[in-house]
C-alpha cells in the first residue's frame, strides 16, 4: 500500500477520532460530576445535528444570500445553545431525580430517553425517517496528490473540534468554575460544604457536555454530508466505549479512547485480512478484550471500595 493512501486513511481516522472524542468527553464529564452514564448522549448528538439542519433551513429561508461562513457560525451556535438547554432540562427532570437510584436504573432510564429522542425525530421531524442531506457549508477546496487528497473542510473541522476540546479542558483545569466542577466530581458533599452551588455546577456540566455533542453532530453532518435519526445509537455506543476504555471520569482518557476506537475501526477496515464490513465487529471485539485486560480502562478511576 502506498504512502498516500495510508496517509488518507490516517486522516480519515483522525477525523473520526475527533468526533468520537467530542462525544466521549460528554460521557466522562457527566460521569465525573454525578457518577452516572447518560446513554442518551449519542442521541443528543443526533438531535444536535438535526437542530443545526433546521437552523440552516430557517436561515436559508430568511436570508438566502448569507455567506457560508456566517451560516455555519449561526448553525453551530444555535445547535449548541439548544442542546445545552436540552442538557439542562434532562439533568433537571431526570438525572438529578435518579441520583439515589441503582446505577442500572439510571443507565436504563437514559437509554429509554435516548430511544424517545430517536423515535421523536423519526416520527415527528418532517420526513424524519429518511436520511437528510446536510449542506456543505465549508469550502470544498482540496489538495490532491495521487491517492491523497488533503481537504480544507476536514482541516477546519478538525481544528475547530480540537479547539473546543482544548477550551473545555482549559475551562476545567484553569478557571474557578472548573475548580468547582472538579470539586463536585471529587466529592459532592464536601464541595457543597465549601459553598459550591451543586445544582448550578451539574447544570453547567450538562450544558457543556451537550454543547460538545451538538458540535459533534454538526461535524458528523458536514463530514458525511448527511444525517439520519438512527446515527445516535452507534455514536452513543462508540462514545461510551471510548470513555470507558480510556477510563471514566478522565478527560484525557476520553480523548485517548476516542482516537483509539477510530484507530481500531480504521485498522479493521484497511489493514486486516477480512472484509472492511467487519470493522465494527473487530472494534467492538477489541473493546471487549480491552475490558478483560484492563477492567477499568487505560486510565483507571481513582476509587477504593469502602466496606
Amino acid at each position: 500500500m502506498d504512502f498516500g493512501l495510508l496517509t488518507q486513511f490516517a486522516i480519515n481516522g483522525l477525523m473520526l477520532g475527533m468526533m468520537y472524542a467530542l462525544v466521549a468527553v460528554g460521557f466522562t464529564l457527566f460521569f465525573g460530576v454525578l457518577d452516572v452514564i447518560v446513554f442518551s448522549h449519542g442521541d443528543v448528538v443526533m438531535v444536535g445535528g438535526f437542530a443545526g439542519l433546521t437552523t440552516f433551513y430557517w436561515l436559508d429561508a430568511i436570508y438566502p444570500g448569507l455567506s457560508h461562513g456566517l451560516m455555519l457560525l449561526w448553525v453551530a451556535l444555535a445547535s449548541m445553545a439548544s442542546m445545552a438547554l436540552l442538557g439542562i432540562v434532562m439533568a433537571r427532570t431526570m438525572i438529578l431525580r435518579l441520583r439515589s437510584a441503582p446505577p442500572l436504573n439510571t443507565l436504563l432510564a437514559t437509554m429509554m430517553l435516548g430511544t424517545v429522542l430517536r423515535e421523536a425525530v423519526r416520527l415527528f421531524y418532517p420526513n424524519g425517517s429518511n436520511p437528510k442531506p446536510f449542506p456543505a457549508l465549508l469550502p470544498d477546496w482540496s489538495l490532491d496528490m495521487g491517492h491523497l487528497s488533503l481537504r480544507l473542510d476536514n482541516l477546519i473541522l478538525f481544528s475547530l473540534g480540537a479547539l473546543l476540546i482544548v477550551s473545555i479542558h482549559l475551562l476545567i483545569t484553569r478557571t474557578r468554575l472548573g475548580m468547582a466542577i472538579r470539586a463536585v466530581a471529587q466529592d459532592a458533599e464536601t464541595a457543597r460544604i465549601m459553598g459550591v452551588n451543586f445544582n448550578a455546577i451539574v447544570f453547567l456540566t450538562f450544558a457543556l457536555g451537550s454543547a460538545a455533542a451538538a458540535f459533534a453532530g454538526i461535524m458528523n453532518g458536514l463530514y458525511y454530508n448527511e444525517i439520519n435519526f438512527g446515527m445516535g445509537l452507534l455514536l452513543g455506543a462508540i462514545g461510551f466505549s471510548a470513555a470507558v476504555i480510556g477510563g471514566l471520569g478522565n478527560i484525557y482518557g476520553a480523548i485517548l479512547g476516542g482516537f483509539a476506537f477510530a484507530f481500531l475501526q480504521t485498522l479493521g477496515a484497511v489493514a486486516l485480512p477480512f472484509a472492511s464490513a467487519y470493522k465494527d465487529v473487530f472494534a467492538f471485539g477489541v473493546v471487549i478484550l480491552i475490558m478483560a485486560w484492563r477492567p477499568t480502562g487505560f486510565i483507571a478511576e481513582k476509587t477504593s471500595e469502602r466496606v
Partner: protein, 399 residues
C-alpha cells in the same frame, strides 16, 4: 459502587411475609383467573381499534378498582394459601385460550410468542434480577439460539428436539466468551461489555454470508415423533391451526423454565445469588464463591434465552439479524423492569402486555418504541419496583 443495594433489598429472612393467612379459600384465585382469561380472549378476539381501546381503558379501570377495594389482596392471599393453584390456573388459562382460538393462527402465534419471550426474560431474570449481572445482549443470545436452529435444521439431520437443547448450549458457550470480561468488570464497565457484544453480534450476522447475511435465513420447522409442525392439526373432523403444537411446546418450555427459575430462587442457590447481588463483599465473607455463582447465573440465563430463541426461530420459519438488535435487547430488559426486577410472575404479566398490546392496537404500532421507552422511563422515575414487585423471602409461616 455506591448504592449497590438494589431494589427493595430482599435480604433473606429479614421480614416474614405479613399477608400469608392460611385460611383463604381458592375461590378468589379461580375467579380472578377466569376473569383474566375472559379478558385476554376478548382482547385477542376483538378486531376494531375502538373496541380494543375500550378494553384497554376498561382493563386499566378494573385493575385500579380491584386495587382500590382490596380485591388484589384477597387474590394474593388465596393464591399464597394454595401454592400450586396459581401455577395450575396459569396453565389452564393458556389451555383455555388454545381451545378458544384453535383455528386462529394469529392469536395462537401471539400466545406462543408470549410464552417464548417469558422463557428468555426468565433467563434474564436469573442474571439481572437475582444475581445483579447486567446483560444488554439478551436478544443476541436469543438470536444465537435461533441461528443454531437454522443451521442445524438446514444442514444436518439432528432431531429438532435436540436442536432446541443445542440452541441453549450454543448460547451458553458463546456467552462464556464474555465471562472473563464480565467477571473482571463491574457496574458500567460490565454494561459496556454486553452492549458491545450486542452491537457486534448484529453487525457480524449482517456481514457474514454463511449465516444468510442481512436477508436472513430459513429455518426448518419443528418435528416431533414424525409429526410436522408446519401443517395444520387434524384429528378426525377437528381442525386446528399449525400453531397449536407450537403453543403446547412453548407452554411446556415456559412451565419448565418457570418451575426451574422458581426452584432456583427458593433454594440455597437463589440465596447465594441474592447475596452476590446485594453485597459481594459480605457474601464472600460468608464463604459464597462470587465467581462461581456469577458464572452459573450468566450461563443459565443465556441457556434459557438460547432454547427459547431456537423454538421461536422454528415457529417464525425465517429469521434475520434485524430480529435480534440492541433495541430488542432493550425490550427484553424493559419487560423485566415493567414486571418488577426479580419477580417471575411480573415477567409473565409484563410480557403479555408488551407483546400483545402493540400487535392488537395497530394504531400505536408505529409508535410502539416511543411508547415503550416513555413507559419504562416513567416506571423507573415513579415506580421503580415494577408492576408486581418481587416479594421478600419468607421462610417461616406466621402462626
Amino acid at each position: 459502587m455506591p448504592g449497590s443495594i438494589q431494589h427493595n433489598a430482599s435480604v433473606p429472612g429479614a421480614v416474614p411475609n405479613p399477608g400469608s393467612a392460611a385460611k383463604a379459600g381458592p375461590l378468589a384465585g379461580i375467579v380472578a383467573a377466569v376473569a383474566v382469561t375472559a379478558y385476554a380472549a376478548a382482547f385477542l378476539l376483538s378486531e376494531s381499534q375502538g373496541l380494543i381501546l375500550a378494553l384497554l381503558v376498561g382493563g386499566a379501570v378494573a385493575a385500579g378498582l380491584a386495587v382500590r377495594v382490596g380485591a388484589h389482596r384477597a387474590v394474593a392471599r388465596s393464591l399464597a394459601a394454595h401454592g400450586r393453584l396459581g401455577d395450575g390456573l396459569a396453565v389452564g388459562m393458556v389451555l383455555a385460550l388454545m381451545v378458544i382460538f384453535h383455528d386462529d393462527h394469529y392469536a395462537l402465534f401471539l400466545v406462543a410468542t408470549i410464552l417464548l419471550y417469558v422463557v428468555a426474560v426468565l433467563g434474564l431474570n436469573v442474571q439481572l434480577g437475582f444475581t445483579g449481572l447486567i446483560n444488554f445482549s439478551c436478544a443476541s443470545f436469543f438470536g444465537i439460539g435461533g441461528y443454531t436452529a437454522a443451521m442445524l435444521g438446514g444442514h444436518t439431520g439432528v432431531p429438532p428436539l435436540v436442536i432446541l437443547a443445542c440452541g441453549g448450549v450454543t448460547a451458553a458457550v458463546v456467552g462464556s466468551i464474555l465471562l472473563l470480561p464480565v467477571l473482571r468488570t463491574s457496574g458500567h464497565y460490565s454494561a459496556l461489555v454486553t452492549m458491545a457484544f450486542a452491537l457486534l453480534f448484529k453487525v457480524f450476522m449482517e456481514v457474514n454470508d454463511a449465516f444468510g447475511g442481512p436477508q436472513g435465513v430459513d429455518v426448518a420447522p419443528m418435528r416431533l415423533f414424525g409429526w410436522d409442525f408446519s401443517s395444520d392439526v387434524e384429528i378426525g373432523s377437528y381442525t386446528g391451526s399449525f400453531y397449536l403444537p407450537y403453543v403446547l411446546l412453548a407452554l411446556a418450555l415456559a412451565v419448565g423454565a418457570f418451575v426451574l427459575v422458581r426452584r432456583i430462587e427458593r433454594s440455597w442457590i437463589g440465596l447465594s445469588l441474592d447475596a452476590v447481588r446485594v453485597d459481594e463483599v459480605a457474601g464472600a465473607c460468608f464463604g459464597i464463591d462470587i465467581r462461581r455463582w456469577k458464572i452459573t447465573a450468566f450461563t443459565a440465563g443465556n441457556f434459557l434465552a438460547g432454547v427459547s430463541g431456537a423454538l421461536y426461530a422454528m415457529m417464525l420459519a425465517y429469521i434475520s439479524p434485524a430480529n435480534f438488535t440492541f433495541a430488542d435487547s432493550l425490550i427484553f430488559l424493559s419487560i423485566l423492569l415493567l414486571g418488577g426486577i426479580g419477580s417471575s410472575w411480573g415477567v409473565v404479566l409484563a410480557t403479555a402486555v408488551v407483546v400483545v398490546v402493540p400487535e392488537k392496537f395497530q394504531v400505536i404500532q408505529e409508535y410502539r418504541f416511543i411508547i415503550y421507552s416513555s413507559l419504562v422511563l416513567l416506571m423507573i422515575l415513579f415506580r421503580p419496583m415494577g408492576l408486581l414487585p418481587r416479594k421478600v423471602r419468607a421462610y417461616r409461616r406466621q402462626a
